[in-house]
């Protein structure tokens, strides 16, 4: 179940964005998106290195950014990005659970998939809603937003520092 979700979600979002981009004349972008989607399937299927999967997430984020920059619908870009994060997260969680016996982790997997899907949908929905408001950034609003972002980041990092123990390391 988790493997299927990981296999489908990432390419589905990027393919949808690729189709729209191609229809709008951005053939090279569409090709890149389809290529990345196609690459994702063997990477997950053959359980390649986690770093490679994370690199592919970064690639998806970059392509979504380019698509939005090239005036593709923001809602579609956010949807593709959410789907990519969802697929990436699920396939990593699948790895974490792979050592445990199959019978006992079904309840956890179902709960995790549903909750992650809700979060991904909420992210995409919120991004879509914010894009409806077509405001332009002035110097003062951009500066305010930057300071706010910086503060949020600092608060998040400070909070996270307490929770990150020394034993948390990368597996691969």
């Amino acid at each position: 179940m988790m493997r299927a979700a990981a296999l489908i979600s990432y390419p589905a979002g990027l393919t949808a964005l690729a189709v729209v981009s191609t229809l709008r004349g951005e053939h090279s972008l569409g090709l890149c998106l389809v290529g990345l989607s196609a690459l994702w399937i063997p990477v997950v299927w053959f359980e390649c290195l986690r770093r490679l999967r994370t690199l592919m997430l970064a690639g998806a984020v970059a392509l979504c950014g380019i698509a939005v920059f090239l005036d593709q619908p923001v809602i579609l870009g956010a949807l593709a990005l959410s789907a990519a994060i969802y697929g990436w997260d699920v396939c990593l969680t699948l790895d974490d659970l792979s050592t445990y016996p199959d019978g006992s982790k079904g309840r956890f997997a179902a709960r995790y998939l549903v909750l992650s899907a809700i979060l991904a949908a909420a992210g995409a929905g919120l991004a879509g809603a914010s894009s409806v408001w077509q405001g332009t950034l002035s110097f003062s609003s951009a500066l305010g937003l930057a300071v706010a972002m910086l503060l949020i980041t600092l608060v998040l990092l400070r909070l996270a520092r307490g929770t990150l123990d020394a034993s948390s390391t990368e597996d691969d």
Partner: protein
């Protein structure tokens, strides 16, 4: 990659998009960063809500010492004390050489305070294995955050070589000990085998007078029997890498350790004083002793034995003969490879030791590693001839030679000397 790392990665990606949006005044990029931030925020909240796992784990091996042919049952008992930990995953990180044949060394369930148990069954090749640490992963109720910790539960498993029951083996050491045992001592006394007859002397047991001789020759003659005593038996296991052959998982050294274990067990069970020298890596010496405890000591030493390639032990010249009492019984377990080894064995024989050589035949095993060509067939024939010459020359020196093809049980191989009663001491 734990959930903490995932939080950092998505936060970084979101920040990257947001910064680009702010710098280049692109509101759509800021909108695009929202899914990443929502993901990071949910992770962070879950992480903060997830307490440190308070899990107690105990491992219950039924025993920590088992034989190659046995299976070892291990139980992991998991007790979680953290109520907000929704799911707990426990993995016993076993050394790769151990094979799980039944059950699962991992456990995954909701973190209830009730103790839970998982069982698994192991098999292993000969050796000593430190049981690995135990990895604990705990997930929050929402499953969005995971903590990982590793606890060490040190325990050492010892897999001793398989002991094969052997038929009676006739050895004839020149010197025996004072206690009664199964080995013919070449000394007249209480026994069952005829030893000789001599003139009666006062004090002799009247029941030993040979009355038939008295009737014929009119003189009193007593019949003597050969005493049976225990002896000093010293096993020498050749652990030099250059004499052993390994093809895939099969190594002649493993066969040699099994032979050493079987022979040691056999001679200890007969009441003999048995010692073991593992010659190769280091002179590992198990001091001679009797009794069941000695069997265990020998098996422990054999479980730890490893082949090694040391210049100092290139040939058998370094065998410390001072460890062995003069004229005692030596049993060498070695696939001989050269004339130098044969010379050393001859030298030991000349010093008065009674010698038995158990020689595993590695040629068929070695043959499987090479393609079947006329050259390899010829090489095999030459090696076979050379080996036969070595063994024959040793047999002529009075060494009891057990030529042991590895596909034949040792009990069958030793029968070739069991049937050969007597022999030169």
């Amino acid at each position: 990659m734990t959930t903490q790392w995932r939080f950092f990665i998505t936060t970084g990606l979101g920040l990257g998009l947001a910064v680009i949006g702010i710098v280049f005044r692109l509101p759509s990029f800021i909108a695009l960063s929202i899914p990443a931030f929502i993901y990071s925020g949910s992770r962070l909240i879950s992480l903060l809500a997830l307490p440190e796992p308070d899990i107690q784990i105990t491992r219950h091996p039924v025993r920590v010492r088992f034989s190659e042919e046995d299976e070892l049952s291990v139980a992991l008992v998991v007790r979680s004390h953290a109520p907000s930990t929704a799911f707990v995953g426990v993995s016993d990180l076993l050394p790769p050489a151990l094979s799980v044949i039944d059950g699962d060394p991992s456990y995954f369930d909701s973190g209830t305070s009730e103790p839970a148990e998982t069982r698994y069954t192991l098999t292993a090749p000969r050796g000593q294995y430190p049981l690995g640490p135990i990895r604990i992963r705990s997930w929050s109720r929402l499953g969005m955050a995971m903590r990982e910790s590793v606890i060490s539960l040190p325990q050492t498993l010892q897999c001793v070589p398989k002991v094969e029951p052997l038929p009676a083996i006739t050895i004839r050491p020149r010197r025996t000990r004072a206690f009664a045992g199964p080995i013919r001592a070449n000394v007249a006394g209480p026994g069952i085998d005829f030893f000789g007859s001599r003139a009666y002397t006062p004090g002799d047991d009247i029941r030993r007078v040979n009355w038939r001789t008295y009737a014929l020759r009119d003189e009193l003659v007593v019949t003597e029997f050969e005493q049976e005593r225990i002896a000093d038996v010293h096993l020498i296991l050749d652990a030099r890498a250059r004499v052993h052959t390994q093809v895939g998982d099969i190594c002649t050294f493993d066969h040699a350790t099994r032979a050493a274990a079987s022979l040691a067990s056999h001679f200890i069970d007969q009441g003999n004083n048995v010692g073991l020298l593992i010659y190769g890596d280091f002179l590992h010496w198990v001091y001679p002793a009797i009794g069941r405890g000695q069997t265990e000591r020998v098996l422990d030493a054999l479980a730890r034995a490893k082949i090694a390639d040391k210049k100092a032990f290139e040939d058998l010249r370094q065998i410390p003969t001072r460890l062995f009492p003069p004229r005692s019984q030596l049993i060498l377990i070695s696939p001989l490879v050269g004339e130098a080894d044969v010379e050393i064995i001859a030298l030991l024989r000349a010093r008065g030791y009674s010698l038995m050589l158990v020689c595993p035949d590695a040629l068929p095993l070695e043959r499987t590693a090479h393609p079947s060509t006329s050259a390899t067939t010829l090489a095999e024939r030459m090696l076979r001839l050379e080996r036969d010459v070595f063994l024959e020359s040793l047999a002529q020196l009075g060494v009891q030679v057990v030529d042991w093809p590895l596909d034949v049980p040792l009990s069958l191989a030793v029968q070739q000397i069991s049937h050969r009663r007597g022999g030169r001491r």
